[in-house]
């Protein structure tokens, strides 16, 4: 069976033992970065599309992304030089404490070889501004659950501009899935419908192939 198909099945059946074996064998025979680009990322893309098409559910997306992230860490730990060279990047949940989407995006990005800071959950606009300054963030992913929090992103973008901070703001979360113009209304640079779209947007921003 094709290695991608095997890896997909291992992730969807939450079979950590099989996933680990496939990742370690793949990294040995192909190289770590090649395994990530040629096997892990296409599998995550396929599973992500499955959610958009109604084949897979969000719980599977979360679990498979999380296991994939865990396994890729085995062959490409956080400080590995093979991890993708990128500007400082961070992810934050504005106001809410109960967000799944942020976890999925975080896992997908790390499983794809990116590194990013976690600014936390339930953050206020001013908390985010301070963290952006502190870390020199250049790409900020903002996840929200409630419409109110989505609209608050316009305040965040305004404050970032007032502070002269050159940050690309990528937004995502339920309100943006129900109103496709909302990301422009709040002044974001882009909107990702899911983790893989967020990854594609980041890849384009840093000048790579999506």
């Amino acid at each position: 069976m094709d290695i991608g198909l095997k890896f997909e099945q291992a992730l969807l059946s939450l079979d950590r033992v099989a996933a680990r074996e496939i990742v370690l064998d793949g990294a040995k025979s192909m190289g770590a970065i090649e395994f990530v680009n040629e096997v892990a990322v296409p599998v995550l893309v396929k599973i992500g599309h499955g959610w958009e098409e109604g084949t897979y559910a969000l719980a599977q997306i979360y679990m498979s992304g999380s296991i994939c992230e865990e396994m890729i860490d085995l062959i490409m730990p956080p400080a590995d030089p093979d991890r993708i060279k990128q500007p400082e990047m961070a992810i934050v949940v504005l106001e809410d404490f109960h967000v799944l989407g942020e976890r999925i995006v975080y896992s997908v990005l790390r499983a794809s070889g990116y590194e990013l800071q976690e600014f936390g959950h339930g953050c206020k606009v001013e908390d985010v501004i301070e963290k952006v300054k502190q870390h020199g963030t250049k790409i900020l992913l903002v996840s929200v659950l409630m419409l109110r929090s989505a609209l608050l992103i316009s305040d965040l973008v305004k404050r970032l501009r007032e502070e002269g901070l050159d940050v690309k703001v990528i937004v995502g979360g339920a309100p943006f899935r129900f109103d496709h113009k909302l990301w422009q209304e709040v002044g974001a640079d882009a909107m990702g419908m899911d983790g893989m779209e967020a990854r594609d947007i980041i890849t384009k921003i840093i000048g790579g192939e999506a």
Binding site: L58, E95, H98, L100, R148, P175
Partner: protein
Amino acid sequence: MSSESMTSLQRVLTTLGHQEPDRVPLFLLLSMHGARELGLSIEQYFSKAEYVAEGQMKLRAKYRDDCIYSFFYTPIEVEAWGGEVIYFEDGPPNAGRPIVLDPKQISDLQVPDIHDTACLAKVLKATELLKAEIKDEAPIIGVVVSPFSLPVMQMGFPAYIRLMYENREMFDRLMQLNEDFCVAWANAQLEAGATAICYFDPVSSTTITTRDMYLQTGFKIAQQTIARIKGPTATHMASGNCLPIVDDIAQTGTAVIGTSVMEDLAEMKAACRGKLTVLGNMNAIEMRNWTPAEAEAVVKEAIAKAGPGGGFILSDNHGEIPWQVPDEVLLAISDAVHQWGRYPIGVS
């Protein structure tokens, strides 16, 4: 029938019986908008049962919808379990940090006593006040969060999904506690005067869980829970998809299904015909930017797709209209359903 000859309750009961009433019933499902009517902050508004009862009566008089919504805010149930509620000036109160940080804590959880829990007692009092006012003119819709969906607030979503897949013993324990709470909470609202209970169960939607997982979990839990609720129930997926599990949902004993705008209303109606009444599915997020003409067009389309034959209640797709939706849009929705919703349906 060519004119409005029914009370709201008669209209709703007729459509629930899959017959055509005088007009398509409208459930606006407004909660915090009552604060605006009374000139109060959202936090002040939900601090007293009397405010909510007055607010609901004013909202119904203004928008001429067909139900009273005794729902306060979603995290009221996790507040009853000891969780924090965060208030905002311009949005629904939200749940604070999860109360279960480790699955082991589930063993120590105690089901709250409904009548001894101040936040729940407030809802019961508001329900009693509303029942005394509205009598049998319109249905009062109470709300519970399903035992299967409450853990999203109790534990946080990621931790709950892990529990579901990886720790079935603690999952089952939590479901039993939540089921006992849900049944007691629903029945207390019915005793206080609620006509029916809206069973919010977004985790059961196919957006969140697979059908296989649903059949092993949310489906069985809904069957057991709904069987113990001493009144009619409506299941709501709070914007989640459910078309692939409509036949399963019909077997849980519920009478109504709240549907997402992501699914076609005509397809949903066809799948539900004779089994479930369809509630939905106006886009609650886009609604704030609609013009009155756009609102009218949305209502006409929904009525054309789902109105014929009864078994349809026009509503939003989430079960709560956002604070940002202006009066003119809500009035336009109401005007449109009163104009175009009369049976026999004339729009196509």
